[in-house]
């Protein structure tokens, strides 16, 4: 089992960041994918390489500010659970933590590399220059 994690601090109130992270259909705004579609508890994401992943939305807890999803029905990925937590660090700052458990292991490094890129994009979206509010 590959278990990996990345985190980033963002200078924005936790609720503002959660508005994006906690919206499964807004993944493409910060994660390096082309597009996504959400129907009920299902999400499909389309990668720039043309790959398409089917996912189950496992947890969407607006109180805990936790989002969990799992890649399913995939020829390569036999087990997956990703957890994204947004945690307040004072009134105007928060930390976003992205963790994944996945089989096969090597896929964990690929996913977490993309997640790292996504977290940086998320941070830049709240920078003074790009400021989402």
């Amino acid at each position: 089992m590959g278990t990996v994690r990345r985190h980033i601090y963002i200078d924005a109130p936790v609720d503002v960041v959660w508005d994006i992270v906690g919206a499964p259909d807004r993944l493409h705004e910060w994660f390096p994918i082309d597009s996504c579609e959400v129907v009920g508890n299902k999400r499909w994401i389309n990668l720039p390489s043309g790959l398409r992943f089917e996912e189950d939305i496992v947890t969407l807890d607006h109180d805990l500010r936790r989002f969990q999803y799992a890649i399913v029905n995939n020829m390569i990925v036999t087990h997956h659970l990703a957890t994204v937590d947004v945690i307040a660090d004072g009134a105007d700052r928060c930390i976003v933590i992205y963790a994944t458990d996945i089989e096969p292991e090597p896929m964990g490094l690929v996913i977490i590399g993309a997640a790292g890129s996504g977290l940086k994009k998320l941070q830049s979206m709240f920078s003074p220059v790009n400021g989402v509010s």
Partner: protein
């Protein structure tokens, strides 16, 4: 009009692969001719023994601790220094044709330019106003017919039936495959029915020739031709297998035939050696996780060596074609040719294959040849002083008549041993760091005065007191580890003190690993 630069690299090629370095099987007359008319470096080391860190050193002129690409899967930042950019800014036309690998291969999110170029059908990319890595033209290839590379796209478009002829490098679990496809069952050995003219070695040469042909006769140019072979998988075109019959190949001198002797040698080395041999500790992604080295048979060693020799002959013939084309354009007298590889390969030494945290000649001693432009009037020489790839960037700038860039960490390559002394080529350093799901291995190595000393950093297997010490003259196969021999304690301490003084200080925050490879 200045001197042109043809930089030819292979991937995972041993020092003794070439006739000019004592190789007795593969016929390499074209590369041997470069050595005969140029400078052959007898003790050249890469600064890391896997692809991405080593190649990042070539292009930046920096040690691994400085450029920060500490393992395969760690991308070289797009704003990292690039000698290609320096040459481009000086008016050189620049190209990299073949395997780049400054950025991860496994990239389904297409995050990296190397993978985006072929998908977009282009050969260059402007990022923040800068040409990616400084190359006017990038045309990519890797070790087979799949992936996001120009070669793979060309093969799929023109000869789709040939794509599955290649060995499938990764298995369904994305692990480096341990399967063998030949009679001996050697891992990553395979019968490839692809016609030779479609094989990636010839394609890389074809594309390099096409790019050179596109240039103005008066252009100054830097062309990095990067052959993916003889890196595994070992699957040269079947039509070429007649060149070397594996049944006729002697076992390498570095392969201890007696199992007890082999294992005693491994037991005298730090723990990562024997633990990998027994399949108890796989520290990195560069060898098949499910292959256990102690199952390696003599016939498998013979076959892998034979297939490697065949691949090396094909590379040599491609080099011959490149040289012929350079001559045909009237550039022969004004073209410098540098030939090297990114790191070596065990090929049976110590009963092992592939590569990993093992700083011995099999992986560290690499071919390095500089055939200066004949018009420069440099005498042929053999250099015995230790040198490294870290000197390549400064050498390219010297050839181009440019000052040594501030970003490089080593002087240009010497043209003889006296020049080496005056330039300060006393030592060469190699680093290893791997972190694979909690398995941590770090090594730091110095080669100086005919000695190789390796310190193991604290990690999963080591507490920081272990290491290796070899006398290269008395023990050319590095089978006698003198690290704990009290008679050599002062030698060891002197080498290590020099090594710690000479190594650059890495950034406090290690770069993230974004892919397995």
């Amino acid at each position: 009009m200045g001197r042109k630069i043809l930089f030819i690299t292979t991937d995972q090629q041993r020092f003794d692969a070439l006739g000019c370095n004592g190789g007795l099987i593969a016929r390499t007359p074209n590369i041997d001719a470069l050595a005969a008319h140029g400078i052959n470096y007898n003790r050249a080391h890469p600064q890391n023994v896997v692809c991405m860190p080593s190649r990042s050193t070539m292009i930046t002129g920096q040690h691994v601790s400085t450029h920060g690409v500490w393992m395969n899967g760690v991308p070289l930042p797009v704003d990292a220094p690039s000698v290609a950019s320096t040459l481009h800014d000086a008016g050189y036309k620049t190209a990299l044709i073949g395997k780049a690998h400054f950025e991860p291969f496994l990239d389904p999110f297409l995050r990296f330019a190397e993978n985006q170029l072929a998908a977009a059908g282009t050969h260059s990319l402007i990022e923040d106003g800068y040409l990616h890595r400084g190359f006017d033209h990038m045309e990519s290839a890797a070790h087979g017919g799949m992936g996001t590379f120009h070669y793979a796209q060309w093969l799929m478009k023109n000869h789709p039936e040939a794509v599955p002829m290649y060995y499938r490098v990764l298995d369904m679990e994305l692990q480096v495959s341990a399967l063998g496809g030949t009679n001996t069952g050697a891992p990553q050995a395979h019968i490839n029915n692809i016609p030779r003219e479609w094989y990636h070695t010839d394609w890389v040469a074809d594309r390099a020739i096409a790019w050179l042909e596109s240039l103005d006769p008066d252009a100054d140019w830097f062309c990095w031709v990067s052959f993916p072979d003889p890196h595994h998988p070992w699957d040269p075109p079947a039509s070429e297998l007649h060149r070397v019959n594996w049944r006729d190949v002697d076992l390498p001198v570095g392969f201890p035939v007696d199992r007890a002797q082999r294992e005693a040698i491994l037991d005298a080395k730090p723990a990562q050696w024997r633990k990998w041999y027994d399949g108890d500790f796989v520290s990195n992604y560069e060898a098949p996780r499910r292959w256990v080295p102690n199952t390696l048979t003599e016939d498998q060693v013979r076959e892998i060596n034979a297939l490697t020799h065949i691949e090396n002959e094909l590379i040599d013939e491609a080099v011959g074609r490149l040289m012929k084309h350079v001559e045909s354009r009237g550039w022969g007298a004004d073209t410098d040719v540098l030939f090297s590889t990114d790191h070596g390969e065990f090929q049976g030494d110590f009963g092992l294959l592939f590569k990993g945290p093992y700083h011995v000649d099999a992986l560290m001693r690499v071919p390095l040849i500089w055939r200066p432009a004949p018009s420069a009037g440099v005498d042929p020489a053999t250099v015995t002083a230790p040198v490294g790839h870290v000197s390549l960037a400064a050498t390219f700038c010297e050839i181009a008549g440019l000052p040594q860039p501030a970003y490089v960490e080593a002087p240009r390559l010497p043209v003889n041993d006296e020049d080496a002394r005056s330039l300060g080529h006393e030592r060469v350093l190699t680093e290893w760091d791997s972190v694979l799901f909690g398995k941590i291995v770090g090594l730091r190595t110095i080669c100086r005065d005919g000695w190789v000393a390796t310190a193991c950093l604290p990690g999963s297997l080591h507490n920081g007191t272990e290491g290796e010490l070899y006398n290269l003259a008395n023990d050319p196969l590095q089978q006698i580890n003198l690290w704990d021999d009290s008679a050599y304690r002062s030698t060891r301490e002197d080498l290590l003190a020099d090594m710690w003084d000479s190594l650059p200080t890495p950034d406090a925050v290690r770069r993230e690993c974004d892919a397995p490879v």
